[in-house]
């Protein structure tokens, strides 16, 4: 089993979700995260008031899949999240030792 974490642009969330739905993946964890990286934040001055935003708003998607699904999922996320510009994000693939469903206590594949 693998955990796939993807950091994407907020407006790409619907596309990515839709893409994943197409290959039968509906369960995932989605969070609003703040990116600090190569892309800079921005400073705005308007009518005398200055606002500094020192991060870039991003969306993080986390999901656990069987190892044989990884390639398909990663491709799907890449294709749906790609705008060709800077800040399109990153995808991480991590090994997962076990998954346990809290309610039933099921392990492994059954608990995904």
């Amino acid at each position: 089993m693998k955990k796939i974490e993807a950091i994407i642009k907020p407006f790409k969330l619907d596309d990515v979700k839709e893409g994943l739905n197409e290959i039968g993946i509906t369960g995932m964890t989605i969070s609003e995260v703040k990116g600090h990286g190569r892309q800079k934040g921005h400073k705005e001055i308007y009518r005398g008031a200055e606002y500094v935003v020192d991060f870039i708003p991003k969306i993080k998607i986390e999901l656990i899949v069987n190892a044989d699904m990884v390639e398909q999922v990663v491709d799907k996320i890449r294709n749906s999240a790609n705008t060709g510009k800077i800040g399109d994000g990153k995808i991480f693939v991590l090994p997962v030792e076990d998954v346990i469903r809290v309610r039933t206590g099921e392990h492994g594949k059954d608990a995904i």
Binding site: A49, I56, K85
Partner: protein, 840 residues
């Protein structure tokens, strides 16, 4: 049969509400008496088994504690132990929660001094079995323990505990998961009223209250209905949770709604109607108990002293820091005073006196309908909104029913809770909260508030933004449809009405687009700007969006959302400030072009319209655009197409290719090689990366159009694009031959370079002012290419011998050039290349 089994049987019989509580209490009484009889026979004199609290009132909920006092007269440890064993063990064995005490009458009297809760529990004492005389003795002594001083203390303790309870369990009645017993408006509030009534006035039941005039018939009926509802719900809740749980958690709401036969319909969810009932009931009890305790406060604080009132306006006065209205006759004669009173309440942050609130509630149904069309009332109402930096005045207005009378559209929102985990408030409360939050934003965004012309419309929009909730379908649109009628009644002018409708219809526009759309797409932002039309309206939408989020719940307004909202706001504001972009003529012109082109292209090629930027559309005729689209089909790979045209005074060259870094430098270099001076140039990049350039040129050496070898030029250009031609080498050797010829260096002004990030949110704009020279363009564009800077749009113009080049650029990552060190480097390099051209 154990009490639990007996209870299950009652449930199976379909018993619910107060009847269930009474039967449950009786069953418990029988069970206890039976156990006692079995183990020691008839209870001896000098011992009484007494039920306390809810059990004493015969209101025993399924999983409530069984509070029992074992009262005895003389020390007889052996007997007492026998009795306690006989009473308590079976209860414990049956798995019940038992509250127990073993005391003499004197010990009870001592304990009530120390333990307020015990004192309260004794108010509901009831004999289950045993010595009647002993029990009567206890009651007499207990009643005698109250004198004027202890009464006052008791009431003050009761009020303090009430406030503390509200603080702990929720101090408003609109909670998503309310505690039916302890929340404000819960059953405990009801009991607190009757305990206090009993101690202070000797009135311990709703019927007593009604007879004494503390509740009128309508209030009595509503209060009884509310308490009956809550009893039924609490029963169900205990049953559903299988334990003593009084909090109406999300997971039980649907189940109980179904049990109460509230099913989903097309307009609303069953669970939403159920929660509406719960919130209405809680609110009913909260209002009644507020009014009651304010009355009690009045009674105990004015014991002996007469407080004088102070007039605020004719018919409105201030009494004990509360606003008091004149009598019924006056209010029916001048009903606008009701609205004036709330405007004063909001601006002075002073609540209405409970007597006035009661009066308004009883008057509302008799108010004339024409009041809704009164300009004066509208003015007071708008003042109330604008002054409400706390929810007090509006909530009181809601609570008395005046708001529902004034805005009938509001009535269906009362106590309406949306079944999601997002909104912590019911819709009515949410709207009040939005107005309050908006008022609080004034200090935070003074600049934006200054930029809003009509605050009345702003606050009204904030108050009405969710007016379409609960009507099924899209609430923003449904709400906007209700606006014209409201605006007419409130005598708003056409412009105000239009703005109000726009704001209600679009209150989610900014946040939806900020989180779901690509904010780097200039044409999209331009669409937004045109939809909003003015900075004024943008500012209003912006602050309403923030106030709405803040009022929705504690976790809704995040820094994350703020960052996106800020970005979309600034980009739209920026475009709106460039008036030519939102000029109706321009919009019409673009529309006209689209229509013409679309007619020429035919339906199946309609998609191609989407790749055409506006600037491009406005620079050509429809026929020219279509011919470009035709040529675009012939393009592929490294190919470049050239279509020169003789315009007598100059030659116009259409050049099409695909975009790449350094493209313009290569074009300019090849042109310089052929002695073509660029007079003007328009450079466009379509959204699919196709480059359409139109360069107006003339020959530097007076050749005629036909003398130029265009084919050769095209093949050299192709070579250059394939990097098979060294332009710098060719140009250097070409121009060194002319170097003897003195250039107009003496007259040369110093070149100037401006790098600007303010004009556009999407591009860095580089402007170069310099003396014209044959290879100037080549030189500066090559310099830009050296930095991997891409040119998306360019305007080249000459006036006299001065050249003005404007480039819209982004770096290789598609970002604007923002690092100051880097822009300085680019600037220096451009200055150098402009200057070095001159001396060649």
């Amino acid at each position: 049969m154990s009490p639990r089994q007996a209870l299950a049987t009652l449930w199976e019989q379909g018993l619910s509400g107060k009847e269930l509580l009474r039967r449950h209490s009786s069953l418990m009484d029988e069970f206890i008496a039976q156990r006692l009889l079995e183990s020691i026979g008839e209870p001896p004199s000098g011992i009484s088994i007494v039920a306390l609290g809810g059990y004493g009132r015969k209101e025993l909920f399924p999983f409530s504690d069984i509070d029992i006092l074992l009262l005895y007269e003389a020390e007889n440890p052996v007997l007492i132990e026998k009795v306690t064993d006989a009473v308590f063990y079976p209860l414990w064995d049956a798995g019940l929660e038992v509250g127990h005490g073993v005391r003499t009458v004197d010990a009870c009297m001592e304990d009530i001094q120390k333990d307020f809760f015990f004192q309260v529990a004794l108010l509901d004492a009831r004999l289950i079995c045993g010595d009647q005389d002993l029990f009567t003795k206890l009651l007499k002594k207990f009643q005698a323990s109250f004198d004027r001083g202890t009464r006052k203390n008791f009431v003050q303790d009761m009020m303090a505990h009430r406030l503390e309870r509200h603080r702990r369990f929720g101090d408003h009645t609109y909670l998503l998961e309310p505690n039916i017993k302890e929340t404000r408006g819960g059953l405990r509030d009801l009991q607190a009223m009757f305990w206090t009534g009993k101690v202070l006035f000797g009135l311990g039941t709703p019927e007593d209250f009604r007879e004494a005039g503390l509740l009128n018939q309508k209030e009595y009926r509503e209060l009884s209905d509310a308490s009956n509802d809550l009893v039924i719900i609490r029963n169900r809740l205990h049953y559903a949770s299988g334990r003593k749980n009084d909090r109406l958690f999300f997971e039980y709401q649907e189940e109980i709604a179904r049990k109460l036969r509230l099913y989903d319909s097309r307009e609303s969810l069953g669970v939403e109607r159920f929660m509406k009932k719960v919130h209405t009931d809680l609110q009913c009890i909260a209002s009644a108990s507020d009014l009651f305790f304010e009355h009690v406060e009045d009674v105990i604080s004015s014991m002996g002293i007469k407080i004088k009132s102070r007039p605020l306006a004719p018919g409105i006065e201030l009494l004990n820091k509360k606003i008091l209205l004149g009598d019924e006759g006056l209010l029916l004669q001048k009903p606008y005073l009701l609205f004036k009173a709330f405007a004063i309440a909001a601006s002075k942050r002073t609540p209405l006196h409970y007597r006035s609130r009661k009066l308004i509630s009883s008057l509302v149904e008799r108010l004339p309908e024409r009041l809704r069309n009164s300009k004066r009332c509208a003015r007071y109402f708008l003042e109330t909104l604008e002054a409400s930096d706390s929810p007090m005045a509006l909530l009181q207005m809601l609570d008395t029913g005046l708001l529902g009378f004034y805005l009938p559209e509001f009535e269906h929102l009362k106590a309406l809770a949306l079944h999601d985990v997002y909104h912590v408030n019911t819709v009515d409360r949410h709207l009040v909260e939005t107005v309050v939050r908006l008022n609080q934003l004034r200090d935070k965004y003074p600049g934006i508030f200054q930029g809003i012309d009509d605050r009345q419309v702003l606050f009204l929009a904030a108050f009405l933004h969710d007016i379409g909730k609960g009507l099924g379908g899209r609430h923003a649109e449904k709400g906007a449809k209700l606006i014209p009628a409201i605006a007419r009644r409130m005598a708003l002018d056409d412009k105000q009405a239009e703005t109000l409708e726009f704001l209600v219809a679009n209150h989610l526009f900014l946040i939806d687009n900020a989180t779901r759309r690509d904010l780097e797409d200039e044409s999209l932002i331009l669409k937004f700007a045109r939809h909003i039309r003015s900075i004024d309206r943008l500012n209003m939408l912006y602050v309403i969006t923030i106030a709405d989020s803040l009022a929705t719940g504690p976790n809704v307004w995040t820094e994350w959302k703020q960052a996106l909202l800020l970005e979309v706001y600034h980009k739209i504001a920026h475009l709106l400030e460039q008036h030519e972009l939102i000029d109706p003529d321009r919009i019409a012109a673009v529309e006209w072009m689209r229509e013409k082109i679309s007619a020429l292209l035919g339906k199946e090629r309609k998609d191609e319209l989407d790749i055409l930027p506006e600037d491009y559309l406005l620079s050509f005729t429809p026929e020219a655009v279509v011919s470009h689209l035709e040529l675009r089909k012939e393009l592929s790979g490294q190919k470049v197409l050239i279509r020169p045209e003789d315009r007598r005074n100059y030659w116009s060259i259409l050049l099409m290719t695909t975009d790449r870094t350094g493209l313009l430098a290569k074009i300019c270099g090849v042109f310089a090689l052929y002695n073509l001076a660029v007079l003007r140039a328009q450079i466009f990049t379509l959204k699919d990366g196709t480059v359409v350039d139109v360069l107006d040129v003339r020959s530097d050496i007076d050749m005629s159009f036909r003398e130029v070898d265009w084919q050769h030029l095209e093949s050299d250009l192709k070579k250059a694009l394939r990097n098979k031609l060294s332009l710098s080498h060719r140009l250097a050797s070409k121009f060194s031959r002319f170097s003897a010829q003195p250039h107009k260096v003496s007259l040369a002004r110093k070149p100037r370079v401006v790098i600007d990030n303010e004009q556009s949110d999407f591009f860095t704009i580089i402007e170069i002012y310099a003396q014209d020279s044959p290879c100037l363009l080549y030189s500066v564009t090559r310099t830009l290419a050296e930095f991997d800077i891409n040119i998306y749009k360019a305007k080249i113009g000459t006036s006299g011998d001065q050249v003005v080049d404007v480039f819209y650029v982004l770096d290789s990552l598609g970002e604007r050039l923002e690092e100051s060190e880097f822009t300085q480097e680019v600037k220096n390099a451009l200055l150098y290349s402009a200057k070095s051209c001159l001396v060649q």
